[in-house]
Amino acid sequence: MSDEKMESRLSALVKGNNPENRKKHALEAKKKGKKIIGLQCTYFPVEVIYAAGMHPWRVTGTWDADLSRSIVYRPSDSCQYCSHALEAVLRGDVKFLDGVIGSSWDEDRRGLFEAWCYESKPALSLKFTPPRNKTEVCERYFAEEISEIAAALGDFSGQKMTKESLSQAIKDCNLTRRLVLQLYELRKRPIPPVSGAEVLGITTAAMVMDKDEFNTELQALLPYLEHRQVKDKSGQPRILITSDMLDNPQFLEIIENEGCQIVMDDLDTGSRYFHKLVDEYTADPIAALARRYVWRPADPSAYNWEEQIQQIIEWVKDYRADGVIELYEEFSPPRQWRAPLLLREMARQNIPLVRIGRGYDVGNVGQLSTRVGAFLETLGVVV
């Protein structure tokens, strides 16, 4: 296939979670007779949704600045992902969802779930406890919780999960993880063939698209990307981005336009979502699922802050990043409470770090550009 056609396929995949496309994937799945389950938390094991014959769809909030409906429920000093997600509900943008699964990732997320259910009264609404601890007891109870939720999902879809259907779902999801991890490997190159914005577009597309379709597309694109010709940015600083609930690639475009390459991320919508496979060869797939989700790289809402920071440090080294940009969501508490520890540990490792507050929609572009530009100047990378 010609480079032009591959670029077109790449572009389509990168835009998979854009407002005009994300709903389309859900509706296509509906046409195939599948129920659509909205997910408010990336800790939920999507495998059980697939195993119950349904389609998981990560909830993305509205990307424009208008919160005139959700402000009635949520004050302005609230997690903006949650406010924009609720705005989407209140506008009627997600009426196609048959059910919703929320979590206690933090109190804002719980509040989103409650307001969502109060307003839209979904046919299925479930809430789970994301694993915050990497312990045996946590694994055990999370496995029990997965079992119970899987049973509820099976009742809802009319297709009970079996060991075989779950094992197959695990294989399919692992394939996605392997493919995305291959994509991430390409970012280690001196000139990565994909930008940070493109990678975020791809990873968020994976969370809304049909699994087989996504895997097929990425499988086809990877050989092309191996040899893709891109602009030589070899002299530009290599940056690792860390954030939560960041799903709009435009943020990363703005940053990269200031003259850097985003070579790695620490995102729940990116690396943390795909790192670690589920053991496909175990006799107990539910236990394997629990183990994977407990032991995957954790979000700041989990307890193991030191490990999370160590993971960032390892990625900085692996991907030879010159600096780290933390794009913290302004009113999302967990990351902000972790910040003093992050600042101190990064300083100890001599890893340049800048923390920049952001909203959820891409407003205040000028300020973001200015701060990023100033940070990049301090990195002293010879261009």
Binding site: S103, K127, L341
Partner: protein, 434 residues
């Protein structure tokens, strides 16, 4: 320094009560401050003597285990609420260390206290994943991790229908692990179950008084003054202090006597309100309520021993029942202290927060609700509209969503807040008359 400030403050309050008694307030408050004074003096002495302290937070978490483990107890918001200059500690935490500046007012002053070395540094910190992340989880975690203190984390199960054996077992099992961790990590620490049993026995003795105090609030006029309604905890001096128990009995006696004589917390009760969520400190609100003849019959914050008695959530109905859950068996001591995490009405979703509140409003003949939307409080964020909708619909009483802060308000902000509150109260009183 903080502890000396508390000692001086307690002495000042005792003196003030002796010299300027206010008949609308409970006489037993003097005993409360006397017990608190002793507690602060003892804390100071224990700190100077080098005794080991622990910060074990979270309702249903390790917070009852300090004494049984051989620790003295640290506190977070319990101390932070009392600082005389909260701005100083907030500035320290934010400017010097980089903690978030938009979080709940109750969380930064205690962090500043610890970072500034004005309180004993704990040898162990634990938290139960609390309904309130900033207060119950992230601030103790921050202190522990930033200061290099051994930290043990406990989780609870979220699903609100998950109230029963599994949820109980999950936390109780982790409490066992906390005990093992404490013994292995802190030299000289050894768990003594008899001390926990003592503490639980005192809870059982306290329960009938707490239940009755709730019942007394149904009386018209409410015998408990607004200021007293807003106090957290009715057993000063720690959970196993015989003087605290004595205080509770005398407090109950006095409340009963006031109720029998028709003595209210305000001179002429014109309106009965519930204040929900968090509270702003300082005299302004109380004085305004008193001036208007408004009784704050219930401060609904979802926690504390009294609220366990509301809405049928009585943890000590019998030996096998905790709250509304009958386990059908006697609980172990660790299970007894784990169980409250399930019926803490914070953190289990909108229905768990609002339904007991509605029941309380009905039972206490409440005329209006003030839903205090504290800046930075994320616990009930997202519930305010649901709370207002349901209360208005199910009870036909008005709800005021009042924005404010506990500590850090400018004079202009306070003025605006009081203006809104006053207008609301005037309207409610006028409606009630007509």
């Amino acid at each position: 320094m903080f502890i000396q400030d508390q000692i001086d403050n307690a002495r000042r309050r005792i003196k003030n009560i002796e010299e300027n008694p206010r008949p609308e307030y409970m006489k037993t408050n003097k005993m409360r401050y006397e017990i608190e004074l002793e507690e602060w003096i003892e804390l100071d002495a224990n700190w100077k003597a080098g005794k080991p302290f622990a910060l074990l937070t979270g309702v249903g978490g390790g917070g009852r285990l300090e004494r049984p483990l051989g620790f003295e107890a640290c506190s977070l918001s319990g101390w932070g609420d009392r600082v005389r200059n909260p701005q100083k500690y907030r500035d320290l935490a934010v400017s010097k260390f980089g903690f978030p500046d938009h979080t709940c007012d109750r969380t930064l002053p205690p962090v500043g206290l610890y970072l500034n070395g004005e309180v004993p540094i704990p040898r162990l910190v634990s938290c139960l994943h609390s309904p309130c992340g900033p207060e119950g989880m992230w601030s103790p975690m921050s202190i522990a991790k930033y200061m290099g203190i051994p930290f043990f984390e406990l989780l609870r199960l979220e699903r609100s229908e998950n109230l029963g054996e599994k949820s109980l077992r999950f936390v109780a099992e982790q409490l066992e692990q906390l005990i093992e961790f404490a013994e292995a990590t802190v030299p000289g620490i050894k768990y003594d179950e008899s001390k926990l049993l003592e503490s639980l026995e005192m809870d059982r003795q306290a329960a009938p008084y707490l239940r009755d105090l709730y019942e007394l609030r149904k009386r018209v006029p409410c015998p408990v003054a607004s200021q007293d309604a807003a106090r957290l905890g009715l057993r000063p001096g720690g959970d196993c202090n015989p003087k605290g128990m004595q205080f509770l009995k005398l407090y109950h006696e006095e409340a009963l006597e006031r109720a029998e004589k028709g003595i209210g917390g305000v001179k002429e009760e014109k309106l009965r309100i519930v204040w929900t969520s968090t509270f702003n400190y300082g005299r302004g609100t109380m004085d305004l309520l008193a001036k208007k003849g408004v009784s704050l019959v219930w401060f609904n914050n979802g926690m504390g021993p009294v609220s366990y008695c509301a809405g049928g959530l009585d943890p000590y109905a019998n030996e096998t029942t905790c709250g509304e859950i009958d386990f059908g068996r006697k609980l172990t001591p660790l299970e007894e202290i784990a169980a409250p995490h399930m019926y803490n009405t914070w953190g289990h979703g909108a229905d768990a927060w609002i339904s007991p509140l509605i029941k309380i409003c009905r039972e206490l003949k409440v005329d209006a609700v003030v839903d205090f939307m504290q800046v930075g409080c994320i616990v009930t964020k997202g519930f305010n509209k649901i709370t207002a909708d349901r209360i208005t619909k199910e009870l036909g009483i008005p709800v005021l969503g009042l924005e404010g802060r506990e500590h850090f308000m400018t004079e202009g902000e306070k003025s605006l807040m009081y203006q809104k509150l006053e207008e609301f109260l005037d309207l409610c009183i006028a409606n009630k008359k007509s």
